[in-house]
Each structure stands twice: as C-alpha cells, then as structure tokens.
Symmetry: C2
Subunit: 438 residues, 2 copies
C-alpha cells in the first residue's frame, strides 16, 4: 500500500518536571525541565509518523508555534514525492522566502524543522517496515546523497566526494551490521555526575554504573573550580586510572578562562572538555584546542551547533576533536548525513550528544549508520547515554553491557507513550495541573 499524502500535523508541548531532582543540571542550565515539542504526522492511508525536538522547559511553546507555522509546507505533500527528492523538501522547509528571516537554519525555527523532519523519517521507515538505521544502511549511496542539501558546504564537501565516501563504506558493511547486532554500539554515561548532585549521590551512582559495565563517565564542571577539582578527583578515584573521564562545561567560560580552568583539571586526565565556551565561537574553540593539545585533552562540541555550515567551519578550523551530533538541533537526518560525511572527510570521530527526552532513542540510528556505512571504526568513538525518561517511549533504547543494542522495530524509535504525553502536556496535563494546586 502506498503511504499516501500527509493529511495532518499536530504539535504538542510535553514537559517533565526534572528540575525537582536536579537531573540534567549543569553550569548554564541549572533547573531544566526536560521537554519536547512532539509532532505527529498522519497520511491519508492512516500511517502515522512521530518526531520531536528536545527542549528544557520554558520556550517549548515557541517551538510548538514554529512547528505550526511550518504546517502549510508539509500537509498535502505525498510521502513518496518527499523522499524521492528529499533535499528539495529540506530546502522547501528551510528556505521559505518569508520564514527564513527568523532563522535561517538556526534557533527555534530549525528546532521545529528538526521535529517535523524527524517525523517524516519515522513515517518513511515505518512505510518501509524498517528501523531508520536499517533504512539508511540499505540505501544506495546515490539515494543517501539525494537527501542532503549541499548549499553552503561545497567548499568542504562536494556531492562527488560524499558519493565516494559512501561507496567505499559499502565494503564490509554486512560484517559490521552483524557485529552491531551482536555487540551493540559503545556508550558512555552522563547519569552519575550532574552538577546539582551531592558527592554521596555521585559516589553511589558511579559505583553502580561500574558494576553494570560502564567504562566512560562524564562530569559536569564550570561553576566553581574548587568544586570541580573535588568532584573530578572523586570520580577519578572511583573509576580508576584505566577508565575514561570526560568533562563538560556547558558553555560557561570565555576563551582564556577555558584554557586556564581546564589546565587546572588536567591532572585528572579528561579525554575531552565539552562546550568550553559559546557554541558559536569557532575561532575560540580552535584556540582552546590548540592550547590543550599538549595536555592530551581534546575539545568536543555540537549539541548546540546549529547547522551544517557551523560544523563545516569547526572542522575546517580544527576547532574540535570530537563531533557531537544531535538528532534534534539540526535538520534531522538530512543535515546530520552532511555532518557525518564532513567529519569523516576531516578525520574527526563522531560521538553523539544524547540524553534529554528521546535523544538516545533517535541518535542511536545515526551512530549505527555512521559506523556501518561511513567510519567503519570504533576508535575514540562512543555515544552518550543518560538513563532517565526512556519509560515514556514506546520502544525505549536497550543498553547491554554499556552498549546501545540496535532497535529492530520499524521507525525512528520516536513514538512516545500516549498516556505519558497526555499526562505531561503543558500546561493542561495532570502533572502540571497538580503543581498549580500546590
């Protein structure tokens, strides 16, 4: 049966009161209520697709408003027409002659684009009866490339270079699929050391994570140097010298401050410092990368890098050593394909950002594709994992021995449990109405 024409789009504001327990707290986001602008598409044949973008509470209603503004560009379009020339649909959404002014391809409007396109990918994969990663793995290089809008990146990656990379990636593909089915994709945990957690909680979480097989741990830093030293020392003692430690400042510093602060933390041998400064500061990150290289500390960033043009420059300027793609900040798989291919060309490993609401569920598809069809390597590579809010998803991530196990259900793993959505809808859901009564 043909999937048909998209006949409806709904957008909902779903918020979880995570700030109550300081889950997700960092140096810049001290009280996040993990949230999502959640999109449902339906075709006239009755097929549904689900997509979302992650937010942290207030402001989600703006993204929902932006999704609604995109509705006329989506409803009435035939799914097959969209996917046959996906880059032109991408351009259609991102280059509307009026709406592009409030972006272009950044901030609220691009988060909304991500949510909508994520739903389109879910719809496509469901119509093919495959998980998104498998849909991607089964696509010919020509078809993959037809999903990418190369505008503004041809000075770093041409269509021909992209094709060339993807053709080379076909070799040994089946072995890598088998390996992933068997072992899964390596993950690291951020669940042990949110900034708002007291030391005892850190210790306890770290200890149980070790016993579950985790070997790489991320610590939030940046608010107070003495605290950071104490917390990093604690974690390094807990995990021992062999395991991997990463630190994350969530944009807290200016350029010079980043260099001096991280230098002070270098004795704990972090693999990377994540988001040392403004996510827009390519030249700043390049400066920090250069200064920290002699200490053996890399720079990681990407969760707030707003589009492929920014990632292009981070790569051109050697401003990062770990590319942290996000499944919901840029223009879905279409734009992430471009970023993954550029990272490969510049020989920088992709280590996705995840956590939040649904980010683990979605990004696992992308990193499986990266390994199977592009990088073919696990060296210096791992995908972030945070262990909360998965219960709200119909097909939550499966972690075994600190590895993401490939999802097998058709789609993008992006469908939420309807009762969770209803209960957490803002402001009318039960969870939020109860707060108002307090």
């Amino acid at each position: 049966m043909s999937p048909g024409k998209i006949c409806s789009l709904t957008a909902r504001d779903v918020r979880f009161p995570t700030s109550l327990e300081q889950h997700g707290s960092d140096a810049m986001h001290t009280d996040p209520d993990y949230s999502a602008a959640y999109v449902t598409l339906e075709t006239d044949s009755g097929l549904k697709g689900f997509g979302l973008t992650f937010t942290v509470g207030r402001g989600t209603e703006i993204v929902v408003c932006a999704v609604e503004a995109l509705r006329p560009l989506v409803v009435g379009r035939n799914l097959q027409e969209i996917t046959t020339n996906f880059s032109s649909f991408y351009r259609h959404l991102t280059s509307d002659g009026q709406m592009r002014w409030v972006g272009p391809e950044k901030g609220v409007i691009h988060l909304a684009t991500a949510a909508v396109l994520n739903a389109v990918w879910d719809l496509w994969a469901r119509s093919e009866g495959k998980p998104v990663w498998k849909l991607l793995v089964d696509m010919e290089p020509e078809q993959l490339v037809s999903c990418i809008d190369f505008r503004y990146i041809t000075d770093a990656l041409t269509k021909e270079e992209a094709l060339d990379i993807l053709r080379k990636g076909q070799e040994g593909k089946q072995q890598r699929v088998d390996q992933m089915m068997r072992e899964g994709y390596p993950a690291y945990t951020t669940s042990c050391a949110w900034l708002g957690y007291p030391d005892d909680t850190l210790k306890q979480l770290c200890s149980s994570a070790l016993s579950e097989g985790w070997r790489a741990f991320k610590v939030k830093v940046g608010a107070d140097l003495d605290d950071d030293i104490r917390r990093c020392r604690l974690i390094r003692q807990m995990i021992g010298p062999e395991n991997v430690l990463m630190i994350d400042a969530n944009q807290r510093w200016d350029v010079g401050e980043a260099v001096s602060w991280v230098t002070r933390l270098s004795e704990f041998r972090p693999l990377w410092i994540e988001e040392p400064t403004s996510p827009d500061d390519i030249l700043g990150h390049a400066h920090i990368s250069k200064a920290l290289a002699p200490l053996g500390i890399g720079v990681a960033t990407g969760e707030q890098c707003h589009n492929r043009v920014m990632f292009k420059q981070f790569l051109q300027a050697s401003a990062l050593q770990f590319v942290q793609i996000d499944s919901c900040r840029v223009g879905s798989i279409n734009e992430n394909l471009a970023i993954i291919l550029m990272a490969h060309k510049f020989n920088v490993p992709v280590c996705p950002h995840a956590g939040g609401v649904g980010l683990c569920e979605l990004v696992q598809h992308l990193i499986l594709f990266d390994y199977i069809c592009v990088s073919g390597s696990l060296e210096n590579r791992m995908c972030e994992y945070v262990d909360h809010l998965h219960e709200h998803f119909k097909n939550p991530t499966v972690i075994k021995n600190a590895h993401y196990m490939p999802p097998m259900e058709p789609g993008f793993s992006s469908e939420m449990v309807e009762s969770s959505v209803t209960k957490h809808s803002f402001p009318q859901g039960d969870v939020w109405r109860n707060f108002q009564h307090l």
Copy 2:
C-alpha cells in the same frame, strides 16, 4: 517623576503587504511582506516605551510568541534598576536557564529579545526626555560599558579596552554633535534596484534619486548572472563613474561561486559585495574577502549576523571590510555597543543595515553615536536608507540631501502610528481581512 516599574508588555504582529509590488525582493526573499513584532511597555507611572523587531511576513507570529515568553522576565522590573545595571538585565533575558536552550542568543528568541530591549531603551530615553542617540552621547564611558555583556568576547575586547576607546572618543565630541545637527549622517539608497523591479523602473528611480542628491546606490544581484550584468551596467551608466555602486546577493551563493560571480561583475566597480554566502560562514567570508581584495571589492555583512560572538569572529578572521549592524537582529543597543567597539578596535567601518520596517528609524541613533563617540570618522561610512513605510512611524526619519538628520524627539523613534498598527495587524486588521475576501 520616577519612571517606575514596568507593569505591562504587549506584543503585536504587524504586517505590510509589500510583496504585492515586489518592494524588498531579493535573491532569497522573493515575496517579502515587511512586518514587525511590535512591543509596547508601560510603567506604573504611565510612561510608555515602544520597540520592535523586523520580519518579512510568515513567522512573525513565532517572534510574538517568543516576546510573550519573555514577559515574566520583564514585567515587575523597575526601569531604574534595569538601567543602573543594564548588562545584568541583558544577561537575565538572554541566559534564562530554560529558554536559552532554544537559542542561545540567536534566531527567534534573540529577535524577541531585540524587540523587548529596544522598547526598554525607548522607555529610558523618554524618561530622560532625550532621543536615544543623545542619551548615549551624554553617557559617561563607565555607564556605556555597564550596558555591555562582555561574556564570550573578552578575547577580542576587554572592558578596559572598551573604556579606553570611549574615553578617547570624548575628545571633539561637541564639534561632531554640531556637525551632525547641521549636515546629518551620510546615507545610501537601496530603493532603486530591488530584484523584482523591471529595468524601466530601475532607470526612473535612479534618475530621480540622482536629482535628489543620492551618490551611492545598492543593486540586488545573485539570481541570474546575465540579468545582473545587464542591471549593473544600466545603473553604472545612470550614475556615472564617480558615484558609488554596491551589490547585494542576500546569501545566494556557495563560497567558490561567490568569488567567480563577483569577479564577473567587477568591471562595474562595486565598493562591496554584501552577503555573498551563508551569514554563518565566517571562514567562507574570509576566503571571499581574500579573493576579492585584489579587485578592490570589499565584503559587507551583518544584517543576519546573529550576535556579538559571530561579529567578533568576522572581525578576527578579516572576513568583512564593512560591518553592517542591524538595530533589531542582535540584542538591541546593549549588544550593538559591543559590536561597534569591536569594529573600531579592528579598524573596520560600520555601515548599518536599514530599510524594512523601522530599521532606519532605529539605527540612525546608533550610527550617530558611532560617529560622535567612537569612530570620529566618515571615511568609507554610510548608512543604508530605503524610502518606504516611514509614514507608519510617529517620528519618521528625516533625510536631507541624502543624509539622515538627527531625530530630536525623546525616545528611539520606534513608536508606530496606532491607526497603522490596527489596520495592519495580522490577521485581524482591515488590510488583511480585505485580502481574505478577494
């Protein structure tokens, strides 16, 4: 009387059907309906302040939604407390622990911040009984600097350097005020050559502009090379060899394409190529700048440069030769002060973007301040002017002999005529209801 506490904030969606006559059309915005998210603040003493950000039609409702999301951060605050420590109020608006996720400091949320802060500046200037430019000119260097959030720019400009620049700018200030009152600030016109205008219209508009004293003219290019050659030749013939021609591609090209296309237009001796590629592509603009320097063509950009961190890098990378500040894209005067001071430090002239709805009205205050207190020079400097929609403002710009004459009414010249706002409110205003009946 004390101006008091801000007790209300309203945001309205105001749109003008400019697309009907192709005013404002360019290579990427082919059918703009010039619009504004228009903000009114009121204090408990009854004082009102007006601010806006410019948009081009669809999407304005998203910015209005974002302004409303900022309301709780503004209402209840005392104006005097805000202005006494203005940088901390700026930080308060831009660094909300939840809302910054949908930016930070970019796109919809930053456009909304601009509209709100523009209204606060209007309120402040009215409470002092001065036009904004005079308020700025009369401020001590220390007070000016206290309006700036230096986060993320200290590697390019420290507070001390900013103070130093401003102290030097005090010398000869009164002469420059007198000169501006007498002669006004030099302007150029973009009204003659929008992309959608036929050649006859171009000729006629150019001819009357020449007779009105205009000496610098901007032409939209980028959609079709043969058309561009024909249109540039026409304009150059009309204005003669002595007058100034600029060209503007509105982000149409990739990096390599920009270089080759502009090289083909170099025979018409444009002073600058404006927005040759993505507004995010600092390294791309640096490449284009380097390639075009031997042809004597500079690169100009800024109207979609989303914050001070991006401008900082454009300057650090020698990626532009003309800084086109915008009064409504970045965080109002607070952020533009930082940009103007950085431009001065890097010795690059500021030539503001204007036009749209109210951009000329607002930005004239900034460029007067730049000349009187920072640059002290008119060399290679001029401010854009477009001659429509001024009738909707209570104190429209006054142009004499192609110069902006300093506004004398208290405030930021940002108050619109109430009947215009009502009539053009979207979608319920008369103008838009009539369209729906067609």
